[in-house]
Structure formats: C-alpha cells, structure tokens
Assembly symmetry: C2
Homo-oligomer: 280 residues x 2
C-alpha cells in the first residue's frame, strides 16, 4: 500500500453524522457512535442526551471515574470491547492540562477520546548515511503481531508526564537508560483521526522523539513485546513504508516524518510528497 | 500575539457556505466567494453555474488563460483587486503535476487557488547554539513593510520547478549561489487556509528548506526588498514569534516549525505546544 493511502486510511473519519459529542463540564471531550449512545441510554447510565450531545451527569472526578468503569463494563457485556487492558488513560484536552477523568485504555477509542503516545526513532549516522533501529513485534502481541515498529512506541498513562512515559517505554522496549533517553530530541507531534472499527474512533496524538545512538549501543527488549531488533538502512525503511505493509500503519507515518525532516523523502523520490507532508 | 493565535488566524476559514467550488475539467481547483461569482455572472464571462459550482466553459489552456485574464480585469474594474502583479502563477493540484491554466498572482487568492512558495531558514550552528539570519523587509514593500521575514521567501512562478524557484529567490534575496543552495535540506511543507480579506481565500503551501551556513557566509540582498539582515540567537527568534508581531505571520510558522524540529520549542517552553504542532 502506498504511503499516501496509509495516511488517508488513518484519516478516514467521514461520517460525523453517526457520532454524538461527548460533553464533560461543558467541554467537548470525545465523539461517541450512536450505537454506543443507544446502549448507554437503554441501560440508564448517568448521562443526559441533548441534541447531538451525550452529557455526563456527574461533575466530580471520583463519580466520573465510576461512570467510566460502568460504561466499560457495559461495552464488555455487549461484546463491543473484548477485554479490559488494565491500563488507565487520562481524558485531557491537551497533555499535562486538566484531567477530566480516567478510563481503561480499551474504552478510549469507543468514546473518541484523544489518546497519547510516545514514539522514538533511534538511528546511527555515518557521514550522510542513516541506519534505523527497527523492532519486529512479537508474534504473540494482540495488536498487529509480526509487524515492524518504531524503535520505542507506547501509550502515555494517567498521571505520567511525557518524559516519564519515554523513560518507562524506552526501558521496557529497548533497555535504554534515562541518561541515553535524555539525549533524545523532542521534534513534534503527529495526529490522526481513524475510524478503524465499526463503532470506534481513534483520535491519536503521538509525541515524536529522534535519538542518535553510537554504534555500540544495541537496543535489547525487556518486556517480551519485541522478538528482535534489526538495523535497517534508511533506503530500506523508505522502500518498506512506500511499497509494503510491513510496518504498523501509524509507525510508517512516524518514519515518514523522520525521513521528510532529513530530506530523505523528498519531491524527487515520493510522487505524493506534497499531499503526504501536508498531512504530517 | 501568541504563536497559537497567529496559527489560528492563518487557519480561520469557517464560512464555506459563502464559497462556490471552482471547477475546471471536472476537477475542483479553487473556492470563490459568492460576491465574485455574482460579478462573473453579471458580466457573462464564460463560466457555468450548477448547484454550488462555478464551472469553466473552456477546456483548452489558451482559452482558459484568456478567461483568467478577463476575470482579472473584471476584478480590477470593480476595485476588488488594486493592481496586477505581472507575475504568472500556475493552477495545479500539486506542484509539478498537471497545469490547468496560469493567472496573475493578484488573482490567485480571489479564486481560492492553491499558491506555492519556497521558504528557507539559513542558520549558523555553534555547538548547541543556533543563530538565524533574519531579513528586515524593506519599508517600501507593498505587503507587510518593515516586518521580519525568513532568510529567503518567495512564490513559485508558472513554469518553475521547486529548485529553480529556490535558486532565483535565494539569489535575489540573499545573494546565495546555486552551490550553496544545493546544500539546503528540503524538510517538509506548511499549509494554511486563510480568509484574510472580505472576498479572498489564501490556500498556501510553503516548501520549507533549512540551510546551515559557515560563519563567513553573509547574506546580502539584491532586489531592494530587504533593508538589512540581522543574525538572531534562536531564543530571540522564539521570543519574537511567541510574544510579538514583529515577524510576518506565515514566516512565524516557518520558524516555529524550524525550532520545533530541533527541540528548541518544546512542551516545557510553549504552553500551546501540542495544539501548535498538531497544526504544523
């Protein structure tokens, strides 16, 4: 699949009419499919409906968190969610700002709440050549097993700062020490709005980091989520994100951004360059 | 004005209902305010109206170019355009692709046709400190006199490639030689959709270049459009784009992108970091 097609698939939200605004304390915090709204109404969870809005009745965080827990259970019972992840994610309008409530990671995309991740690309530079450390996802992973990934990638949990998430994920996925990770450069974000399942809406913002490594720093996985790391020449990475589906889709975007920022994907070697970089 | 506010001003298109699609050879190529559509209809220029579409009757480029010339004259007569620029711009869906017709630069924003520019930031690096070459626009410039600008910035004319535009503007504005400009890195694009006058819509895509210079390369203006060049520390540039209106608005965006890509604007020193980098 072409890089542009991957990008468009991650930005394929075109049926707003099927979604209700999720409102908490007079603020739009999410988007919920009408199928899920009807389940919530039928089961009399503490929400109000007004025009196209699904409004939390509760104001206090403790009670809101309970409503979220009950909403998660409802979707589990109705087999919309397969299982809880046990990871708590925050509902915020932007990272580090007011936290409205927390919810299980599995529920985030079914309430169309923005999810946050850290994505790090570790590379080795030799004159003008760049090689990138690419993990192969474990074959036992629930989501996209056996796909290629960014060197480090994971969600930002409730109560974590950006740097804490980077430290945690960097250690779990690649055994990088805090001292090494502090040299990583924060270089921007990538966001997309993705209708990936019948009733879900993934609104993701990925915080992107670049990390130049010396030749003798070899990433090593700690949590069993990666089966091995490979060192790919940047041309091989470009080829794979332009012509294959070997990379997990959102990771292809992160690598496209990395290669564009270095002039390694440009108007001469990518026919959809303009449209791709307009998205990123 | 805050950086986020500048960014929002350049993305303030919220009255789509007032605009007709401009259609050429079955393709949407622009967006035209209904006031201008009514002038075109009244004066019987060769367009058709169907639903919310303003459709060129002509198919051949030569006849289309004549229609564009007549449309420009009509807007001049009606004092919507003050004067022609004499610069021909292309109408394309993306740079280097099929050219539908050419038109005077002054007309581009009144037909809501995408305009293209090259923006280059030349900098000097000394260990981790970065200084940026900043031109002060001449006090006699028609648009935004006396404002600060990117080192090199200009439109891409009809018939020009990206590199030809970079060579031309780089020489005119800063006396950079082709050999120097070939070292510039193409690092992405920035796009915005800006309602800046009652009947206009600026849909701009800027191709961004970074150029690291040695200490002894001093930019020197050739075309009288710059009154002087100053070398600013990156912190001073950051301060100015975050807190003042000293920079031309779209140039503040280009510099924000430059500083974000280097981690010099980050979540710790820009409170709207997430929203800003989501736009860029």
């Amino acid at each position: 699949m072409s890089l542009l097609k991957k990008l468009k698939e991650l930005n394929n939200f075109s049926d707003k009419k099927n979604f209700f605004n999720l409102v908490c304390c007079n603020t739009n915090v999410g988007l919920v499919h009408r199928k899920i709204v009807s389940l919530i109404v039928k089961n009399k969870l503490p929400y109000n409906i007004k025009n196209n809005n699904l409004i939390f009745k509760e104001k206090k965080k403790k009670l809101l968190n309970l409503t979220l827990k009950n909403t998660c259970d409802l979707l589990l019972t109705n087999k919309i969610i397969k299982e809880e992840t046990g990871e708590n994610f925050p509902c915020v309008l932007s990272l580090g700002k007011k936290e409205y409530f927390i919810l299980d990671r599995s529920l985030v995309e079914y309430l169309g709440i923005r999810g946050y991740g850290v994505h790090l690309v570790a590379y080795i530079k030799n004159k003008d050549n760049i090689k990138i450390w690419v993990p192969l996802r474990s074959k036992t992973k629930r989501v996209e097993p056996n796909k290629l990934d960014n060197t480090v990638a994971g969600g930002i949990s409730a109560g974590e700062t950006l740097l804490q998430a980077l430290f945690r994920e960097g250690y779990e996925e690649a055994s990088f020490k805090e001292k090494t990770l502090l040299r990583a450069k924060q270089v921007g974000t990538i966001s997309y709005t993705w209708r990936n399942k019948p009733y879900s809406l993934r609104r993701d913002t990925l915080f992107i980091f670049d990390l130049e490594l010396s030749k003798d720093t070899i990433p090593k996985n700690n949590d069993g989520e990666v089966s091995k790391f490979k060192l790919y020449d940047h041309k091989k990475v470009r080829d794979k994100i332009q012509k294959t589906n070997d990379f997990k889709k959102n990771c292809a975007l992160v690598l496209a951004s990395f290669l564009i920022r270095r002039g390694l994907i440009n108007i001469d070697n990518e026919k959809n360059y303009e449209e791709i970089s307009r998205f990123l």
